[in-house]
């Protein structure tokens, strides 16, 4: 087999591959954020499509990449950290690109949150947008009415949303599959309608004037100055959101690798067999709802303080569907895939503005195209490996 010799790269080769592949990824992201013309976007998408076609045809590439990253994890992490930290310096004063990146990061967190349910446990939850909204509203209300600091609203909003997760999770246990999806859709719509109709949530006008957070006396509304480099104020939120993505990745990774992730996978595969292994299926489903709501609320809080103005329109059913598409296109139960899906689906519609009226049509075609190239998602789930066995 061709892959056999390649599957065990030496340390030096692995390190080189790890660094080079991440720099290529970053360069690609930079390019697609920078280009404007329709043909350039098409060219980059074609390149991406070609890349994934190769990945589909030659599975050993993925094995090689995984083996490389696994053999030099420290190099991989340091490279990733450098890329993420340095990216705003290349973007410079272009606040539009920074804005896109922040939204993509927040969507990455939301997609990772939903992945606990949809990817790990196969629970079709269409209410992630509602948890996101609850997080945003709870923190915004606390900040506006009681002057609570951003850092304190983060955990409070997350706990409120988790409570909501339990509230929708428990009755949902009576249903499954299509019916479960319907219940969550109903919940999502109800939450949005309530936000629209209550007077204390500002009704359809939403909440205005959410104060910018500050850290050690530095207001997030001010430009960020690092070593004499001046970055626009959005950079504050870029780094904050990046930190949240890291938290989400660590959470996902730890749960996936523990008996909880296995239990979720078990009930995804066969609920009756999962029960026969002693798994309390109802409890683990509710748990998936709670973890999803917890992370989504974090993203909601950051979003509220970032845009400083929220309304029910930000948390519609469509948001939940978008998050779900990100998980499916990116790759169910694959942390990296879900993040790629979130970035791609956030940036793509913006870049397709060159096609004016045909934008959404083209967007749909591109998504279908990627699913045809990679039917299991861009980066499908992989078997767990234990104790260095490969």
């Amino acid at each position: 087999m061709q892959g056999a010799s390649l599957a065990a790269p030496g340390k030096a080769a692995a390190a080189a591959f790890t660094i080079a592949s991440q720099l290529c990824g970053a360069a690609f992201l930079y390019l697609i954020l920078r280009v404007d013309g329709g043909w350039q976007v098409i060219g980059l998408l074609a390149l991406l499509g070609l890349g994934f076609t190769l990945l589909e045809r030659l599975p050993w590439i993925a094995d090689y990449a995984l083996a490389s990253f696994a053999s030099v994890p420290l190099v991989a992490m340091i490279t990733a950290a450098v890329v993420v930290l340095a990216f705003p310096f290349f973007v410079g004063s272009n606040t539009y690109i920074l804005h896109l990146l922040i939204v993509a990061e927040l969507y990455a967190v939301l997609a990772l949150a939903l992945n606990f349910q949809l990817g790990s446990a196969n629970i079709p939850n269409f209410a992630t947008g509602a948890s996101y909204g609850i997080g945003a509203y709870v923190s915004a209300l606390l900040a506006i009415n009681f002057g609570v600091s951003f850092w304190l609203t983060l955990p409070v909003a997350a706990l409120a949303a988790t409570l909501f997760g339990f509230i929708i999770g428990i009755p949902s246990m009576r249903t499954r599959d299509t019916y479960l999806a319907l219940v969550t859709i109903a919940f999502g719509v109800v939450v949005q309608q309530l936000l629209n109709n209550f007077s204390w949530t500002g009704g359809p006008n939403g909440l205005v004037g959410i104060p910018a957070p500050s850290l050690f006396g530095h207001s997030f509304a001010d430009p960020l100055v690092i070593f004499g480099w001046k970055l626009p104020s959005q950079a504050n939120f870029y780094y904050l959101s990046a930190a949240l993505v890291v938290v989400a990745i660590v959470t996902a990774h730890r749960l996936h690798g523990s008996r909880i992730g296995l239990a979720w996978n078990a009930l995804r595969a066969d609920e009756i067999a999962a029960k026969a292994q002693g798994i309390n299926v109802a409890w683990f489903k509710v748990l998936a709802f709670a973890v999803d709501a917890f992370l989504a609320a974090f993203a909601g809080t950051i979003y509220a303080f970032y845009v400083s103005y929220i309304s029910p329109d930000n948390f519609t059913f469509l948001v939940s569907v978008t998050i779900m598409t990100m998980v499916i296109v990116g790759g169910m139960d694959n942390i990296f895939g879900v993040i790629v899906g979130a970035f791609l689906l956030t940036i793509l519609p913006e870049k397709l503005r060159a096609f004016a009226d045909y934008r959404l049509l083209f967007f749909g075609v591109v998504i279908i195209g990627f699913l045809m190239i990679r039917p299991q998602g861009l980066f499908p789930q992989r078997m767990r490996r234990y104790g260095g066995d490969l």
């Binding site: 690798g257 523990s258 008996r259 999962a274 029960k275 002693g278 748990l287 234990y386």
Partner: protein
């Protein structure tokens, strides 16, 4: 010696259908009980009642001194009853190893907060599970250990049955319920299965086994306690020779002799 599992006067009705009719049986610690009977006789329903999938219409199930009638499955497994399914129900998109590790669910403790804030403890627990699971896979017949990173759905039929048993044993049960373990096995594989069960009992003299079987060669290997069920009712019990000679059992399997006479 008091019985480990006691099923007393259990009746299970689904609407008008009587799947089990006043069935009683018991099994001692370390014993093997074979349950035979034609298709649709209610054997698997009996397992479902014992493991808490169904709550019986009437009657009691006691295990290890405690009543477990209608208790949820996860509690029953935790108390020490493990089962396999007639049509194998493996987690087919997970690896063979993961299937066995999931079987240890009730013997591991990590909760969400532990997994998030004490990753070291969670990792050690998983590492211990891997060691135990690999040992279990090496034990039985076949080469499950060599196939441990294959998806369970890709296994051959006989290996699926073996994996189901390994997964059930992972929960360190006191009572093992095997629902037609020899289905889909050829003669050599069936002999290996019998040898596996014999070895298992030698290693764990306390372990009790209830076997649902159609293959009389398997039943013959464990001839001391045999129960025959037909149309939801127990029609015979005793040792294999006695049950085989029972005219009602022969009638259940072969039809009435009246037509001949």
């Amino acid at each position: 010696m008091s019985a480990l599992l006691k099923v007393e006067n259990v009746t299970m009705r689904f609407g008008g259908l009587v799947a089990l009719n006043d069935v009683s049986l018991s099994i001692d610690k370390g014993a093997v009980l074979a349950v035979i009977g034609p298709n649709g006789a209610g054997k698997s329903t009996l397992f479902n009642v014992v493991t808490g999938v169904y709550r019986p219409t009437s009657g009691r199930v006691t295990f290890d001194g405690a009543e477990i009638t209608g208790r949820p499955s996860y509690e029953v497994v935790d108390r020490g009853i493990a089962r396999t399914f007639q049509s194998s129900r493996l987690f087919s998109d997970l690896s063979v190893l993961d299937n066995v590790i999931i079987g240890m669910h009730t013997r591991t403790k990590t909760g969400v907060l532990d997994a998030l804030f004490r990753p070291g403890a969670s990792r050690r627990e998983m590492a211990a599970c891997v060691v135990k699971a690999e040992a279990l896979l090496k034990l039985g017949s076949g080469d499950l250990f060599e196939q441990r990173y294959r998806p369970a759905g890709a296994l051959a039929q006989a290996d699926r049955r073996r994996l189901e048993i390994a997964r059930a044993l992972a929960s360190q049960p006191k009572l093992l319920l095997l629902d037609e373990p020899s289905v889909g096995m050829d003669d050599t594989e069936t002999d290996a299965l019998v040898a596996d069960i014999v070895r298992l009992r030698a290693e764990n003299p306390e372990l009790s086994v209830v076997l649902i079987e159609h293959d009389m060669r398997v039943v013959e290997a464990f001839p001391h306690h045999v129960t025959c069920i037909d149309y939801g009712s127990k029609i015979a019990e005793g040792d294999f020779a006695a049950v085989r000679a029972d005219p009602r059992v022969q009638e259940a399997y072969l039809g009435k002799a009246v037509a001949h006479a």
